[in-house]
Every structure is written in structure tokens, then in C-alpha cells.
């Protein structure tokens, strides 16, 4: 979805404002928002891509004017409504020990696959010009641009399919994941910083071969 969460390259937000000796939380409700988010996530009613999609589907003005924990809380409200979890029987609050074991676990999204990776390190690839209305993790600034594969990261669950409609079983068939370098000039034009390189982590369906394209 071409949403306002896809912020890379916008120029209207002013300077970055680091805070000296920033506390982990600024308000008590932020502590609870974090913990509730993790506690409800542990009930298995949605996956990380469904929750990301709930947050990025908030109304644009709400998204841009909310702190990040506020985005989390509003996203949770969407997820709770979409799964009907308040009306479900058989869900049980996780204990502290269960939650701590969960956050200490390595919940990898890497999956075995019998397919071979289509691209290799050093190969030039073009990020497809995709504009899906659902969830995607290919940022707009990279679409249509040519880059170079610098790493093959294994086969991972593909977010565009994993972000299934709430309540439906997601398709977790994995896709090969690559890190792709783009020069600043490829992304931002001739006036870009000549020393800049930006990489994105891109699943195979985001990429296409440039062999045969005119250089």
C-alpha cells in the first residue's frame, strides 16, 4: 500500500531531534502499551505482518500526528476488532514467565525451501514497480531502480502474503531474501551525495532480472 508510513526520501519533517539521556519510556501508558502489544501478540491471533499492516492502514493524518506507541495502541484496536478476539472463548492470558520466554525465543521467519535462489551476490537487479493495495515491504523510493545484490539472506516468509486478512490463515510459503545496494544517484538523481549507498532487504518477488536490458 502506498501509505504515509513509507517515509524514505520525504523532505518536509525538519531536523532529527535526539533527546539527551532519553528514558526508555516517557509516560506510564507507554510501558503498558508495549507490554499489552507483546501480551496480545503472544495469543497468536495475528502475525507481525498483519500487525504492521494494521498500523500502516491508520488514517494518514492520524499516523503522522501520533507517537509510535500511540500508533501501536491504535493498531491493536484494529487487530482486536478484526479478529473478534474479545468475543472468542478459549483465549487465556499468558503468564509473566510465558511472555518472558516468548520474548527471549528466536522466532525466526526463515523457512526451508527446495527452490534455488534466482539471484547471486554481485548480480544487478531491478526492483519491480509494484503498487499493491495490501501490505508490502518494498519501499517506494526503490521501485523501478537498479541495484546490486550484496547478500543472500536465506528464504523467509513473504510479508505481502503473510499479511492475510485478519481471521484468515496466512500463506507462509517462503521466498528468497536478498540485500540489494542502490547508489544514491540511482535513487535520488545526479545531485545526490556521490558517496551514498542505500540497501534494502528485498524478497525475490520484488526483483527482476536486468540481463538484456540496455545499460
Amino acid at each position: 500500500m502506498n501509505g504515509v508510513h513509507d517515509l524514505g526520501g520525504l523532505q518536509s519533517f525538519g531536523p532529527v531531534l535526539p533527546e539527551q539521556d532519553e528514558p526508555v519510556f516517557h509516560e506510564e501508558w507507554e510501558r503498558r502499551a508495549l507490554a499489552i502489544t507483546l501480551a496480545l501478540g503472544a495469543l497468536g491471533q495475528w502475525n507481525i505482518d498483519q500487525s504492521r499492516h494494521a498500523r500502516e492502514s491508520l488514517p494518514p493524518a492520524t499516523y503522522l500526528s501520533s507517537s509510535y506507541y500511540e500508533i501501536w495502541v491504535r493498531g491493536l484496536e484494529v487487530l482486536m476488532a478484526g479478529t473478534g478476539m474479545l468475543e472468542q472463548d478459549g483465549l487465556r492470558a499468558r503468564t509473566g514467565a510465558e511472555l518472558l520466554a516468548g520474548v527471549s525465543a528466536q522466532g525466526s521467519y526463515e523457512r526451508p525451501t527446495e527452490r534455488e535462489p534466482r539471484y547471486a551476490v554481485g548480480q544487478r537487479v531491478r526492483a519491480r514497480d509494484l503498487n499493491p493495495v495490501g501490505h508490502t515491504r518494498l519501499p517506494r523510493y526503490a521501485r523501478g531502480r537498479v541495484g546490486t545484490v550484496v547478500a543472500v539472506r536465506g528464504a523467509h516468509v513473504f510479508p505481502d502474503r503473510n499479511a492475510a486478512t485478519l481471521g484468515q490463515l496466512p500463506d507462509q510459503e517462503p521466498e528468497w531474501l536478498y540485500t540489494v545496494d542502490f547508489t544514491g544517484r540511482e535513487l535520488w538523481g545526479e545531485d545526490a551525495d556521490p558517496t551514498l549507498t542505500v540497501s534494502v532487504d528485498a524478497w525475490e518477488p520484488y526483483l527482476q532480472d536486468v540481463t538484456g536490458e540496455a545499460a
Binding site: 526508555v24 474479545l86 520474548v103 558517496t195 551514498l196
Partner: protein, 213 residues
């Protein structure tokens, strides 16, 4: 309505006075979820405790200091960061696929998540507000030198800048350059020089004279 009597109570429990809209909203949410048996407030306390006190950039600082002090560990970290970091006990959510990237005189690395707030929790803890805010997420990929200037950092014009946009479940940790004059320091003393921002790439490690004047 406020009376003198409950004024006293407000002083004892300042969190109950003048609830902000978000405070009220999250309290209502927690109450509802508790009544429905979906969350246990004591379990929430345990999660908060974990992320407020135990997990934080001190974990990543140990990793970096070890890499500075121990060439074999540095090599392992650059080759298989997930395993090298796990060997120091830092595992868990948002750290499943770690990659360490090393700053050199020729190249400076910076990490961002333009799409949301992806961040290596086991080594850096929860992200600071600025990391999740639009200014950083928008600017890092198009004007990283401008971001560095916002943090008071200037690099030579010919230093390559590499920005890693965390668009998948890979999480990046920057190994900042080891400051000069630190040859005789212990690993713990070195770790004290490693700031959170230096491991995101928006800052540099501290010089020892600024730590122990």
C-alpha cells in the same frame, strides 16, 4: 470533582491526576483485556521490567567492545553476528537475524527502518523516539550527512556512507570505529565508550578523555 482530601491523594499518586487521552485509553484497554482474561497485569509488569532494566544498549556495547579487543571474536561477529551475539547471551525478539557492519576510515554505516520501527532489541533495547519518528525515517536514506549534522557529527567528504534500510527481519548492528588512545583499556572500559547512537550509526564512539577527564 476535586476536594482538599483527594488533593492529598493526588500528591501520593500523581499518575491518577489529569489523565492524558492516551493514558485514559490505555488504562481502559488494559482493564477490558484483564476482565476478559486476555492479559494478566502482573505479566505485563514482568515484560516492562525486562525491557526497561535488562535489555538495552549496554548489551550491544559489550558486543562491540569484545570485537574491538578480540580479533577472533570480531571476525566471527562479521561472519555470523547472530551466533556471535548469542554467545554473549543476547538473544530474543527482533534479533533473530543479526548482521554486524563495521565502520572504517573509508566507510560509515547507518541503520534505519523507513517503513516502521525495526530495531535490534536484544542488543540495543527499545528504540528511541527519534528513531521511530518521520524526520529520521525520511531523511536517513536521502541525506544521511544531514542526519549526522543533526547529531553534531561531521565526516570527511570522501567517506562513503552506507545506509541499511531494515525492510525485512534482518537487524543491523554498527560496529563503530575504535577511538584512538584506547590500547590499554579493558573490555569493560571499552564498552563504556560505546554509545547507543554509535551502534545505529548516527554517532561515534566516545573518546576516552571525555569519559575519564
Amino acid at each position: 470533582m476535586s476536594t482538599d482530601a483527594d488533593h492529598g491523594q493526588h500528591h501520593d499518586h500523581p499518575e491518577f491526576s489529569e489523565l492524558s487521552p492516551m493514558d485514559a485509553r490505555v488504562r481502559a484497554l488494559e482493564t477490558l483485556l484483564t476482565e476478559k482474561g486476555l492479559v494478566d497485569p502482573a505479566a505485563l509488569d514482568a515484560v516492562v521490567e525486562r525491557y526497561e532494566t535488562e535489555v538495552g544498549p549496554h548489551n550491544g556495547a559489550q558486543v562491540v567492545a569484545r570485537a574491538w579487543a578480540d580479533p577472533a571474536y570480531r571476525e566471527w561477529l562479521l561472519k555470523d553476528a547472530t551466533a556471535a551475539i548469542a554467545s554473549l547471551g543476547h538473544v530474543g525478539r527482533q534479533g533473530e537475524h543479526m548482521v554486524a557492519v563495521e565502520n572504517t576510515p573509508e566507510r560509515h554505516n547507518m541503520v534505519v527502518c523507513t517503513l516502521c520501527s525495526c530495531y535490534p532489541w536484544p542488543v540495543l533495547g527499545l528504540p528511541p523516539v527519534w528513531y521511530k519518528a518521520p524526520a529520521y525515517r525520511s531523511k536517513a536514506v536521502i541525506d544521511p550527512r544531514g542526519v549526522l549534522a543533526d547529531f553534531g557529527v561531521t565526516l570527511p567528504d570522501d567517506t562513503e556512507i552506507k545506509v541499511w534500510d531494515s525492510t525485512a527481519e534482518v537487524r543491523y548492528l554498527v560496529i563503530p570505529r575504535r577511538p584512538e588512545g584506547t590500547e590499554d583499556l579493558t573490555v569493560d572500559e571499552l564498552a563504556a565508550l560505546v554509545t547507543r547512537d554509535s551502534m545505529i550509526g548516527t554517532g561515534l564512539a566516545r573518546s576516552p578523555e571525555r569519559v575519564t577527564p
